[in-house]
Amino acid sequence: MLARGIESVRRVWDQPVPAALSRRHILAGLALFFFVLQGVTGILLLVYYRPSVDAAYHSIGVINDEVNLGWLVRSLHVWGSDLLILCGLLHLLRVYFARAYRAPRRFGWVFGMLLMVVVLAFGFTGGLLPWDQFAYWSVDAAKDTIAAIPVVGSSLLNVFWGGWDLGEEVLLRFYAFHVAILPWIAIGCLAGHLILSLRADGTPAADAPPALASRVTVADGALDALALSLLVGGLLLTVAVVYPQPLLAPADPLSPLPHVQPRWYLLPARWLLRHLPGTAGAVVVATLFIVLLAVPFIDRKPHESAAGGVIRWSLGIVAVAAWLFMALMQYLS
């Protein structure tokens, strides 16, 4: 039986990888790697974390200073979330510029966008859990931002804050979202994204020669993925060791922390919301997201004209440049 099992593994080992997979999916693979890492490190942190105003900060302190390698697991978890979002954004850009969002991958793109939102929500809800000064005041600063979102702002605020001031009830809600609700939504979105994207086997993106991918065996792909995962894991480990996550003073509602900046991926949104009057900033952010979500339904032609290509590339480059500009301006403000 063991021999039969080994033989069947060997057969799969020598099979060509699905045509839809190629080295172009490295970023997606890395995002998946970090997603799994977040799950593993998150479960390890869950063992020691205590979700209450009186105990949360102390439990993070215990993780940092007393639990064997607890500081490393926490640092990997926080840095891993940043790298997950970075890989997700780069993957999104690659798919956009490769025009790989077209049918039959349209709904794969939609699930991917939703997954991106869920990952950002993970970052937002996880930010409060250490219950130190940065956690408290960065989430407090986001309250007005969420409230400014037209139509759904107050509902979202009600979902996250539940009508309370930042305290025990809100911390518990964020915790519940972070460890119990968002993971299932993320798994659902990820499954949808992978199934709908990989279901298009044999119909790779317009710029991907199908013949190339089919000549690579599962063994080649797995060995490449292993080597890459080792190197990327090493880089993450280095960042986590050299720049361990800080833990400021315990949250103090009476001592506002001056000049709290959001995480890097929310800098452009904060800049827009600060510089556009009233709810205009939230409307612009929401509109940009909806437009991005609808890209596959706007660009539906099988073959792109030269002018269309120029427009698509120009829009993409301008969007990236604007994103970087706003992030820089907010960071320097």
Partner: protein, 405 residues
């Protein structure tokens, strides 16, 4: 417009006209004063005639007629009483919440006493508050804004010729600027830093005699004064044998107190080989050791923060050590050596604990970097093995990335 409405309009114009003329008649000749006065707290309450008299309904020199109540520029000797017309009137001052005892305080002050004797060179209300442009003390351009008070007092008290008349030195302003209090006021801009008025009083400004100084210092340095009075120096001060705080710390030029005071001040009254000087040296030693331990721990934590941010968790312990040391500082004024030793021992002990924790973290960081190096060695080895295994498993790939047949 019907007749009743016309009558009402004419009546209104008649009511308004004098007020308009009151403004216009003075400023026709004194437009610069109008600009200055518009910024004054008095602008909404008083017109020119409130202080200067005269007839505001007349444009021209006739308005200055004495029979019209014109007093012109008030004489210096009359200014306090003139200001007191309103400022000592409880009904007038109640809406603004200002105290009404300034005039009474002024007459009790050295300035007021000399003015009452006919000396008009002393300060009167306008010398400190200004004349037409009088602004509240929280306005930074006000001459009585805390950081401007020393300069305002110094206009007279730094004038050597004027002070020579009263046999008062004119160096206080410069001495104060260089003092620990001056640095707190001008450099650190501490909101509670003392000004001249904090010690000498404002309206009731008076020189302080030696015995009163300690009480005045004690308004802020409360615990220090309590401990001082508990110790042998308190009894000596009460007996008039020494002047409380200033015997060691001086006044106006009070320097930042440090351990060197034990080397320079004790010997002024005590013999170098006396027990008192020996006690001072012991105090210097234990306080200095605690201070050094605290400084070292603080420096090490600060240096550690960029590489190990969690070191900030040690700050509360360090604050506890600092609290012991800060308690020891006033206690030393009681010359209670044993209590100072207890407090400084606690401060030093906690500081040493904190330093040990920092050193532990430094060692931990070293181990982390060694672990990281080992992890990289394994990663590179495993990656190399993986790549080599892939190459040995299949023939080399073609240029186009495909396998050779």
């Amino acid at each position: 417009m019907d007749t009743q409405a016309r009558i009402a309009l004419i009546g209104l114009c008649m009511l308004v006209a004098p007020a308009v003329r009151a403004d216009e008649s003075c400023v026709t000749c004194h437009p610069d004063v109008k600009t200055e006065y518009a910024q004054s707290v008095h602008a909404s309450e008083l017109t020119c005639t409130g202080c200067h008299g005269g007839d505001p309904t007349i444009v021209g020199p006739e308005a200055h007629a004495v029979e019209k109540g014109y007093i012109g520029k008030p004489a210096r000797k009359d200014i306090p009483t003139l200001c007191g017309t309103c400022h000592a009137d409880a009904d007038r001052m109640r809406p603004s919440g200002l105290p009404t005892d300034q005039l009474a305080q002024y007459w009790q002050s050295k300035h007021g006493q000399l003015l009452a004797q006919g000396d008009t060179r002393v300060a009167v209300c306008t010398d400190c508050h200004g004349t037409h442009r009088i602004v509240i003390r929280t306005e930074p351009t006000s001459p009585i804004y805390p950081q401007r008070v020393p300069a305002t007092c110094g206009r007279c008290h730094a004038d050597e010729k004027l002070m020579a008349i009263y046999n008062i030195p004119a160096v206080q302003l410069d001495a104060f600027r260089a003092s620990v209090h001056g640095v707190a006021l001008f450099v650190e801009q501490h909101p509670d830093a003392p000004t001249c008025a904090t010690c000498h009083g404002a309206h009731g400004a008076t020189a302080l005699n030696g015995l009163a100084i300690g009480k005045v210092c004690g308004h802020c340095h409360t615990r220090t004064l309590d401990y001082f009075n508990d110790g042998p120096h308190g009894a000596a001060a009460t007996a008039g044998q020494m002047s409380e705080c200033i015997s060691c710390h001086g006044y106006h030029d009070t320097p930042q107190p440090d351990a060197s005071l034990f080397d320079t001040t004790c010997q002024r009254c005590h013999a170098p080989d006396s027990d008192a000087v020996a006690t001072g040296q012991k105090l210097k030693t234990v306080l200095g050791a605690a201070h050094d331990a605290l400084q070292t721990a603080t420096t090490e934590i600060t240096a550690m923060e960029p590489v190990a941010p969690t070191v900030t968790r040690l700050q509360p312990r360090l604050r506890q050590a600092r609290a012991y040391w800060l308690e020891a500082v006033p206690v030393q004024h009681a010359l209670a050596l044993e209590r100072v030793e207890d407090l400084t021992r606690s401060a030093r002990s906690i500081s040493e604990d904190v330093r040990a924790a920092v050193h532990g973290m430094q060692e931990d960081m070293r181990v982390r970097y060694i672990g990281l190096a080992l992890a990289w060695a394994f990663i590179l080895f495993a990656a190399a093995v993986t790549i080599l295994y892939k190459r040995t498993r299949r023939p080399p790939a073609g240029d186009d990335g495909s396998r050779a047949p």
